[in-house]
């Protein structure tokens, strides 16, 4: 009995010691667990990297501060002036668009960040974003499917370009307000691969930092330019690149960045020529979000109609009235259709579909 109690005493004492001394080891174990777990929401930085981001040395930072103080002050003055003098935009008419990114000068192309999985030691893909002789941006490189043998990576092969984050004077983060628009327009020429458009937002809490809204853009390949129009409601919520059960609205007021990712299953060189990215207001698009907000939600069922409503993303034959125009397909909104019917062919005359093909999917 005495032996038992003594052993127990020792056990407790050593357990205390275990806790006090090898806390670091325990921490290691826990951290190891977390690395594999999917339920961790702690983020070290906005990029979602495990390591710390590099900071400028103090001396250099001070130097830059003093050097840039004059120009930044000027920027600040202009900002304030503009804020008082400009009348805010309140609404946008149907069909109006605003070009947010155009690649017709080398600086605008250079300001975009290019990443491939080779940069993070996650593969062997390479990528480059260059200014071409057509005054466009050319996103090209090589997608390699070879998985590095580090024990963690399962799939490899991605390349991405991301727009620069908007900045106010003195390097303050700011955001774009897209709330007046509901469609994204792209003019591009690809190689037949699908590419993913990724929209990032300026969130405050780390739980949201890696939320992105994405939707694929399909290229047909060949020498013809494509004009792609994607309703912003079709962008689905992803976190860490995984689609989420609980979908959220794209917060149009705090949009921060736009990116294009090439990560399809084909190994080989890829090239995507981008002319410009624009935002447009289309009154035909009335949806705020094209998917159910929560997996298995039952309340948001579509109204019963005799005609089968097309699913989102489903290919449907164009309605009869519009058959004359190749490729143009409108959302079957009864109001708009009858409106076009009443106007007759004159309404179609001014449509900009003569030399370009607009895809509405």
């Amino acid at each position: 009995m005495a032996c038992m109690s003594y052993s127990r005493l020792l056990a407790t004492r050593s357990s205390n010691r275990l806790l006090s001394k090898s806390l670091q080891d325990l921490g290691c174990v826990i951290a190891k667990r977390y690395e594999k777990s999917t339920s961790v929401f702690f983020e070290k930085n906005k990029k979602g990297l495990e390591r710390d981001l590099k900071r400028r040395p103090l001396r250099q930072a001070l130097k830059m501060t003093f050097q840039n103080f004059g120009p930044e002050l000027k920027l600040f003055y202009n900002e304030q002036k503009e804020a008082f003098s400009r009348f805010p935009m309140l609404s946008v008419d149907h069909g109006n668009y605003e070009v947010i990114y155009s690649f017709n000068d080398p600086e605008s192309v250079k300001s975009w960040a290019v990443t491939a999985d080779r940069d993070n030691e996650g593969g062997k893909s390479t990528a480059n974003f260059t200014f071409s002789k057509n005054r466009t941006g050319l996103f090209h490189g090589y997608l390699s499917k070879e998985v590095p043998k580090d024990g963690k990576t399962k799939y490899a092969g991605y390349a991405n370009i991301t727009s620069p984050k908007p900045r106010k004077s003195f390097g303050r983060d700011t955001q774009m307000d897209w709330s007046l628009f509901n469609c994204m327009l792209l003019r591009l020429r690809g190689d037949g691969r699908p590419y993913m458009i990724v929209i990032g937002c300026n969130f405050y809490y780390d739980i949201n930092w890696l939320n992105r809204w994405s939707y694929p853009v399909f290229t047909r390949g060949g020498p013809y330019w494509q004009h792609v129009k994607i309703p912003l409601s079709k962008f689905f919520t992803t976190h860490h690149g995984r689609i989420q059960d609980k979908q959220e609205f794209l917060p149009l007021k705090i949009v921060n960045s736009v990116g294009i990712t090439a990560a399809d299953s084909a190994e080989g060189p890829f090239s995507l020529e981008i002319d410009s990215i624009a935002l447009m207001n289309d009154i035909n698009v009335t949806d705020k979000h094209a998917y159910e907000m929560e997996l298995g939600e039952k309340s948001r069922q579509p109204a019963k109609t005799s005609v089968r409503q097309p699913c989102y993303g489903e290919l449907v034959p164009p309605p009869n009235e519009l058959c004359g125009i190749p490729g143009l397909r409108l959302v079957p909104d009864q109001e708009i259709r009858s409106y076009i019917k009443d106007l007759g062919p004159a309404a179609l005359k001014s449509s900009p579909t003569e030399a370009i093909n607009i895809e509405h999917f």
Partner: protein, 496 residues
């Protein structure tokens, strides 16, 4: 073995069975080891059957004790037993007893097994290399042997794959030992059996898991991943399905629910897939057939059809053997040209050269092909005219010249000014995919075009053929600089 050590092992066994904290074991373990050594018979705990399950506890115990020893030397001044002088004393005592070498040996033997480094690549996921033990490798080899044996005797087909799973289920029907290893092996083997994109094969493979045994019974089990290795295996399998574009159906879900229950992590993943994948199944506006043909001619036609915007385009396939008497190589030429493009060649100024460029890559899912194009320099005047018309429309100058019901609308008004082929960087005149993508085949393509377009034989044609298509990605098609400059100049003039 003397009496004390026997008692000690018994005691240890009791402790282990009772699941007392392994710290207790840590205190006990070295004593028994040392006493056991004293008799000359070393106890190898690893080989003992009943200790096998608690092996790791022992390992940790020994390691912890070693660590404690080293740390004690540094600090802990308060305790008498563990003061450095006492430790030294005990060490000397051990020395006096003799044979400290054997002690070291035993401790060495008690270390956990090293991760197996096999030259053959394992199908087991290497997220945690320590998990791949000898035992799991043995089970994996066993699984591989089932697949190999059957594929050698019956050929690598879908039926054989399903039969292999059945064989496993028959053999291991009671304890289902090595199910995880079998499924990982099967997932890897699917490539050789050609069933990576076959739902039936996945349905068969999931049946290597036992029914009912792994269903969690309460919320805690659900959230803390009941049977984690099995569930992770299932998730990996679903991910492979997702990666290969296989959409699970209801029957697959029933199989999964019978194995893991309704709320397990695997089933949740399945539900997500069932919800999202059909939504995105048909979003491609330029659909590609699910199963691509093997024939390169058919593939070329699909790619050309996908590339051509003009709906009137005519597609032809020529064989070089038919075209020429003495062809350099036997291939095919798939060509696409529309009547509009033929008209454009007819209207083309014969003194201006035409260009044949390529090869540019084009993809049909994973299949890569190279295409060539025949193009002319952009028609700047027509483009400028169109641009000006657009500007006029924007300016709303003809605000009061409405067409009314009494006026006839001329059909020419509705006709687009420019065809789709006339872009601001180049005018595209024809597209082609050849079997070998060599210069000789492209030359015979142009010769073949000459039969349809008689004016082509009189116009100079320049060939810009890149040696490898990898460098093609560096170059864009056409050049819109002349049009750009003209536009800029006219703007300047209008500003003045």
């Amino acid at each position: 073995m003397n009496k004390t050590s026997c008692q000690a092992t018994l005691f240890l066994k009791v402790i282990c069975k009772l699941n007392v904290r392994n710290v207790g074991a840590s205190w006990l373990a070295p004593k028994f080891v040392s006493t056991g050594c004293g008799t000359g018979k070393s106890i190898n705990y690893c080989q003992r059957r009943y200790l096998n399950s608690n092996k790791r506890q022992l390992h940790t115990a020994v390691i912890l004790n070693e660590r404690e020893k080293t740390e004690q030397r540094v600090k802990v001044p308060g305790e008498k037993d563990l003061s450095p002088s006492n430790l030294e004393n005990s060490a000397t005592q051990v020395k006096q007893k003799g044979k400290p070498q054997t002690e070291a040996k035993v401790i060495e033997r008690l270390k956990p097994p090293k991760p197996v480094e096999d030259k053959q690549e394992s199908s087991l996921p290497n997220h945690d290399p320590e998990r791949i033990t000898d035992e799991s490798r043995r089970l994996e080899r066993k699984a591989n042997s089932i697949f190999q044996e059957l594929s050698e005797t019956r050929g690598a087909t879908k039926e054989t794959f399903i039969l292999a799973v059945k064989k496993f289920a028959d053999r291991e029907g009671i304890y289902w030992r090595g199910a995880v290893e079998f499924i990982y092996a099967g997932m890897k083997e699917m490539q050789t059996f050609g069933v990576v994109k076959d739902l039936d094969a996945y349905k068969a493979l999931i049946q290597a898991f036992p029914e009912g045994k792994m269903i969690p019974r309460n919320a805690w089990q659900v959230e803390f991943m009941h049977y984690p290795r099995h569930q992770q295996c299932g998730i990996d399998m679903l991910e492979q399905m997702e990666h290969n574009g296989v959409i699970p159906d209801e029957a697959f879900g029933v199989l999964l629910k019978n194995r893991f229950g309704r709320e397990a992590h695997v089933t949740r993943k399945y539900r997500r897939m069932l919800y999202w994948l059909p939504k995105f199944k048909n979003i491609n506006p330029y659909p590609i057939p699910m199963e691509l043909p093997v024939d390169p001619r058919q593939l070329a036609l699909i790619a050309l059809r996908r590339m051509s915007v003009d709906r009137e385009t005519q597609y032809t396939i020529h064989e070089t053997t038919e075209l020429e008497a003495e062809p350099e190589e036997e291939t095919f030429i798939a060509s696409a040209q529309s009547p509009t493009q033929q008209r454009l060649i007819q209207e083309h100024n014969m003194e201006q050269p035409l260009f044949v460029e390529g090869p540019y890559p084009v993809y049909l899912r994973e299949v890569r092909q190279n295409y060539f194009l025949l193009r002319a320099e952009p028609n700047i005047n027509a483009l400028m005219k169109k641009k000006q018309l657009e500007k006029e429309e924007e300016a709303d100058e003809n605000l009061f010249e409405w067409t009314n019901f009494f006026e006839d609308e001329k059909s020419s008004e509705l006709r687009p000014l420019l065809s789709v082929h006339e872009q601001d960087d180049s005018t595209i005149l024809a597209l082609a995919i050849t079997g070998t993508s060599t210069k000789s085949s492209v030359v015979s393509w142009v010769r073949c075009l000459e039969t349809i377009n008689p004016r082509l034989s009189q116009t100079p044609v320049l060939f810009k053929i890149m040696s490898s298509s990898d460098s093609a990605s560096l170059d864009v098609i056409g050049d819109n600089r002349p049009f750009w400059e003209l536009q800029k100049n006219t703007e300047k003039i209008s500003d003045i």
